[in-house]
């Protein structure tokens, strides 16, 4: 009896210890961002050789000077605006292509549609690193070098395949009997889509919006390849590449930029992660 209890307690201890270890590993860089963003320079730049100065805590009162510097004296706000502008257009392009395509693959195309759906999904596996070189040529031919429009054109190449796949899975999970009944009642397919399918698909469409936008936020490679002017950069490119003066990194403001950008994205993303995983693994987990 007692040995069993000891075992159970030991299990709980291991469980909590493991949960803590994983959490610490995952969160440490974000904690470090937070500390750096609000530490005074005297507290920040001590050097790790000084073993009496503990870098893991605030040794002096936190300060807002790095955040103020970031917002007032760097192009951070411009980068945010660029990202939002590009993101909005990409989301729009993705919606008008991927939602109808997803529906079509789920309902209207039958067997070959299924094959095609898998084909479209596989294109999502073709990474930017394989395509940025030919795109450099395409963008040059179109005269879009160093233009925000290059990114608006290129980003849908990864948002459309993924979101089409996501919407296909979503429409499949909606029972088709409602639509069949409406068509028996005399509605055309087009009317069914407009009056029944789209209202039902609101949550799927919301997911597409969130993912298309976060995928845009994640990109670094295309922005690095196509954009060279600081004023045209996105957040993901500008913060790591252009937030330096000469050779000097302003770590306080830099980490503040990382923190302010990452946390909202991460929170929203977390709310939708289950749909994302369900979409990605739809094939493997079917049934």
């Amino acid at each position: 009896m007692t040995s069993r209890r000891v075992l159970r307690i030991a299990r709980r201890v291991v469980l909590y210890a493991a949960a803590t270890a994983f959490t610490v590993f995952a969160v440490m860089p974000f904690y470090w961002m937070m500390l750096t963003s609000f530490k005074t320079n005297r507290d920040l730049y001590v050097g790790a050789t000084d073993l009496t100065h503990i870098p893991w805590i605030f040794n002096q009162r936190p300060t807002l000077e790095h955040v103020q510097l970031l917002l007032a004296h760097t192009p951070y706000a411009t980068w945010v605006a660029n990202t939002v502008f590009i993101g909005a257009l990409v989301v729009l392009l993705t919606l008008i292509t991927a939602v109808p395509a997803g529906y079509s693959l789920a309902r209207l195309t039958g067997r070959w549609g299924e094959q095609l759906g898998i084909g479209i999904f596989l294109t999502y596996l073709i990474p930017p690193t394989l395509l940025f070189i030919p795109f450099a040529r395409v963008i040059a031919m179109l005269g879009l070098q160093n233009s925000i429009w290059a990114l608006v054109l290129v980003y849908p190449t990864f948002t459309i395949p993924f979101c089409t796949w996501l919407m296909m899975g979503f429409f499949r999970s909606v029972p088709h009997e409602i639509e069949d009944q409406a068509m028996v009642d005399g509605f055309s397919r087009a009317a069914v889509i407009r009056k029944i399918v789209l209202p039902l698909a609101v949550s799927g469409i919301l997911t597409v919006i969130i993912f298309a936008f976060t995928l845009v936020m994640q990109d670094f490679v295309y922005a690095l390849t196509f954009i060279s002017s600081v004023g045209k950069m996105t957040v993901s490119l500008g913060v790591p590449v252009a937030l330096v003066r000469g050779d000097v990194f302003y770590w306080g403001s830099l980490m503040a930029a990382c923190l302010i950008t990452s946390v909202p994205i991460a929170v929203v993303y977390n709310l939708f992660i289950d749909r994302f995983i369900a979409g990605l693994t739809a094939g493997a987990l079917k049934g």
């Binding site: 493991a18 949960a19 994983f22 959490t23 590993f25 995952a26 860089p29 470090w32 961002m33 870098p55 008008i96 395509a101 693959l105 309902r107 549609g113 898998i118 479209i120 294109t123 596996l125 073709i126 990474p127 930017p128 690193t129 394989l130 940025f132 070189i133 030919p134 450099a136 031919m141 054109l153 290129v154 849908p156 190449t157 409406a182 009642d185 005399g186 509605f187 055309s188 397919r189 976060t214 994640q218 670094f220 490679v221 690095l224 957040v235 490119l237 913060v239 790591p240 990382c258 990452s262 994205i265 991460a266 977390n270 992660i273 369900a278 693994t281 094939g283 493997a284 987990l285 079917k286």
Partner: protein
């Protein structure tokens, strides 16, 4: 109610149209699919073909000329020791990080599958590395591994493990450890949620039956739980392989391929030669070496998907 009225009003109209629209359902399907297909074919398919063509050319970024030089780009890179090191780095970083990810993610999924106080919060926090934009996370790590201010060095020194000093990005071995660490940190959350989703789909009664039949913890783990999880772990790892083997951002921001070009991977070398060095042809040839990996992954993914479908 409104729907009903409208329905009857439309029904009369529909009698006239129904037949044609029913016949044209396939056409409507194609029409709705066309924009997405066109985008993918024009801007993924065509560039992919262009990548292959460029690798056989002496194209540069400066002008739009295109001249066929056969296999010369491939001959050049195959003879280039730096390409060899980039290729082996890509393989090593991918294999080592994904091996660690398999272990960590499976363990983390078992933890998150158990009931404990604060489970939702832990899940949220563990997912942060995957959700944050990769280039910003890479900057945080660059700062963590800073040669003067590295908090890791401070902690190791205080704990008494470190007597000299780690210049993380000044030493090829340490730089590689740093890169693999960031890859693991970034992909293990993703693999964890994928495996966790897989666990939810495994019927509990198999596991319970094993316990009733007297299987101990380890026996149950290795003979029941892990084999059942294998397909979903495979899927997680296949995605992980794609993400790590093709990554440019982490290596570029952490080390720029340094020190002494010792940490280049295919993607960063392709960027260096193709974009910074303006030799599009050679850059394309280097990047193309990623294609076999992707084909293998795609085939494996389809097989896993098919097998589980047959299984159900």
């Amino acid at each position: 109610m409104a729907l009903r009225n409208e329905a009857s009003a439309m029904a009369t109209l529909a009698v006239l149209r129904h037949r044609t629209l029913a016949d044209r359902e396939d056409l409507l399907g194609r029409l709705m699919l066309a924009p997405a297909m066109a985008y993918v074919l024009l801007l993924v398919g065509a560039p992919l073909v262009l990548a292959v063509l460029l690798s056989f050319s002496s194209a540069t970024a400066g002008n739009l000329s295109f001249s066929w030089i056969g296999l010369r780009n491939f001959a050049t890179i195959v003879a280039d020791p730096q390409f060899h090191s980039a290729l082996s780095n890509t393989v090593v970083f991918t294999l080592v990080s994904q091996a660690l990810v398999i272990v960590l993610a499976t363990a983390a999924a078992f933890v998150l599958d158990a009931a404990f106080v604060g489970r939702r919060l832990v899940r949220f926090l563990i997912l942060l590395p995957w959700a944050a934009p990769v280039s910003l996370a890479a900057m945080a790590w660059t700062w963590i591994f800073d040669s003067t201010f590295s908090v890791i060095n401070w902690t190791l020194k205080v704990a008494g493990f470190l007597h000299g000093w780690f210049y993380w990005f000044g030493d090829p071995g340490l730089a590689k450890i740093a890169i693999v660490t960031v890859h693991v940190w970034r992909t293990f959350p993703f693999a964890t949620v994928v495996v966790l989703a897989g666990m939810a789909s495994i019927p509990r009664d198999i596991s319970e039956a094993a316990v009733i039949d007297g299987a101990g913890f380890w026996r149950k783990l290795f003979q029941v739980d892990l084999p059942l999880l294998l397909p979903i772990v495979t899927v997680a790892v296949l995605f992980g392989v794609v993400f790590t083997s093709t990554d440019l951002g982490i290596v570029y921001l952490l080390t720029r391929g340094g020190p002494y070009n010792s940490t280049h991977v295919l993607a960063s070398l392709a960027f260096q030669r193709g974009i910074l060095g303006a030799d599009l042809g050679q850059g394309a040839a280097i990047a193309l070496f990623l294609l076999p990996v992707l084909i293998v992954v795609a085939v494996a993914m389809l097989r896993v998907a098919r097998r589980t479908e047959v299984g159900t």
